[in-house]
């Protein structure tokens, strides 16, 4: 029997993780192939794979995947470019924080998806509107979390830097930013996950390409196999980007693990 907080070996960890996926697919196959759920509502795994192959080979689904990734990354990078510097300034200077914080906290609770009709009005149904949805959905979250992270930098490190002759610019550049950097990277990883939710919602409405667009099309045709394949593709991309982010963090911040 495992004991509380007892670590497991890495092999066991991987095996257990894979086991869940296997059980999940088995349960799904049992429910669908066994005839417990009508095919109209839920495709079985084999149909899903066949539909997925069809999508990729005959319907140019790779293009949709590419479009969606481009939108997420584009909107997310724009948001990060605005939010990270602003968050750092807010974390550093309490007056800047006092100026922006109430509005950002308010804006953070505005659901990005509720802006879609308005954004369509303003920016049409083109790429600009999709990027804006992601941008609005991510930017306030990043600002606030970065500000908190920078604001909670260890005071004794800041004081040590002062007694070593650092000026205010040196404190920001050589203490606050490097100290917060790993957490900022972690925040970006988290928010990128949320950005994926927004992009699909944005693509469900008024879109002519992308994974979300494919899902709406498949709904009209009652092709649950394609829908599920689309969802799984999103999950896999999320998993891969998460892995890449974590690997990049390990490479960028070796001192965290040392």
């Amino acid at each position: 029997m495992p004991r509380p907080l007892e670590p497991v070996s890495s092999t066991t960890r991987v095996l257990l993780g894979v086991l869940f996926f296997v059980l999940f697919v088995l349960a799904w196959a049992w429910a669908t192939l066994g005839g417990y759920v009508t095919r109209t509502f839920l495709a079985d795994p084999l149909t899903m794979v066949r539909e997925g192959y069809d999508l990729l080979v005959r319907h140019g689904f790779l293009f949709d995947i590419g479009i969606t990734i481009w939108r997420v990354v584009g909107g997310f990078v724009l948001a990060a470019l605005v939010a990270v510097p602003l968050g750092i300034m807010m974390g550093t200077y309490k007056s800047v924080e006092a100026f922006f914080e109430p509005f950002v906290s308010f804006a953070r609770y505005l659901p990005a998806s509720a802006f879609i009709p308005l954004l369509i009005l303003w920016a049409g149904i083109g790429e600009k509107q999709k990027l804006l949805v992601i941008f609005i959905g991510s930017v306030f979250q990043i600002i606030l979390m970065v500000a908190i992270t920078v604001g909670s930098t260890r005071r004794d490190l800041v004081e040590a830097a002062y007694t070593l002759g650092a000026g205010d610019a040196g404190i920001i550049r050589r203490v606050l930013i490097p100290s917060a950097a790993p957490d900022i990277a972690e925040i970006l990883r988290l928010v990128l996950g949320w950005a994926w939710t927004y992009v699909i919602v944005a693509e469900l409405i008024g879109s002519s390409a992308g994974i979300g667009h494919m899902i709406v099309d498949s709904q009209a045709l009652l092709n649950t196999g394609q829908i599920i394949f689309g969802i799984i593709v999103i999950g896999v991309i999320g998993l891969v980007s998460d892995f890449l982010f974590k690997a990049a963090n390990r490479w960028l911040f070796p001192w965290r693990l040392a």
Partner: protein, 264 residues
């Protein structure tokens, strides 16, 4: 001429809540520190000795009075008053070498020179071979050695140490005391060292300032005439014991006072 002059410095902390009483942490305190002196400030916990050191460092402001370094008033923190803290304050994202070079970098010294200098300092505090280690990979004693090297590389006019060995085990602390004395004699620095450890205060210092319980004031100014270089066996000598008995008596009264204040 004295290196450092403390003139009627007091510190009152504002009340923590509205309508509360302000707390007097430090009563008017004045003393002079001569060049190349090693002074320990000994006092029970909470007596304001750290506050005094932080005021000298420029990290805290005196409510009244002023601090003069080489005749110039201290207005804020600066590299001329390097400080070693009780908590481990190495920058965790920098290697030992880069930590030592932090102040030099801030001063705009060219990379080649500051690398050479910090390698040199690394060796002088006995950390040769650990240049590329991150703070997390070092023991507490090694981290404090690095912190000392980091301050000395800056060539400060005075070195301030706030219970730097307080978190170390006894054996390591003893070794660190000897290392620090070694460095002090080689580099001829002026040192102000805050501690609550009586033995430590005598072993290191040429002069011990004893502080009273909060609100702190300098209660006794004791010369330690034991010759340098000092060896750890000194701690068992009669002269040492005599001083220790004297300071123990001074401090005990204050510790009892402090305990009484706390229970009231």
């Amino acid at each position: 001429m004295s290196k450092l002059r403390i003139e009627g410095v007091t510190r009152t902390f504002p009340p923590s809540r509205k309508g509360g009483e302000p707390t007097l942490a430090l009563q008017p305190t004045s003393f002079d520190v001569a060049d190349n002196d090693f002074i320990t400030i000994l006092g029970p916990s909470g007596c304001g000795k750290s506050t005094l050191l932080r005021i000298i460092a420029g990290l805290d402001r005196a409510t009244e009075g002023r601090v003069l370094l080489d005749g110039k008033a201290v207005t804020g923190p600066g590299s001329d008053r390097g400080m070693v803290f009780q908590s481990y304050t190495l920058f965790p994202w920098l290697t030992v070498i880069d930590n030592i070079a932090f102040g030099l970098h801030e001063r705009g010294m060219p990379a080649a020179r500051r690398t050479a200098l910090s390698h040199d300092w690394c060796a002088r505090v006995g950390l040769a071979g650990f240049e590329r280690h991150y703070p997390k990979q070092l023991s507490g004693g090694m981290q404090q050695r690095t912190a000392i090297a980091r301050v000395l590389a800056n060539d400060p006019k005075i070195m301030l140490l706030d219970e730097p060995f307080g978190a170390l085990d006894n054996q390591t602390r003893s070794l660190m005391q000897e290392t620090l004395l070694d460095i002090w004699q080689r580099e001829t620095k002026t040192v102000l060292f805050v501690t609550h450890d009586i033995e430590e205060s005598i072993f290191l210092a040429s002069r011990v300032l004893v502080m009273s319980a909060r609100p702190g004031r300098i209660k006794a100014d004791v010369r330690v005439e034991l010759p340098y270089p000092r060896h750890y066996t000194l701690k068992t000598s009669p002269e040492f014991s005599e001083l220790k008995a004297l300071l123990t008596e001074e401090i005990r009264a204050e510790a009892m006072l402090a305990a009484k204040v706390q229970t009231e």
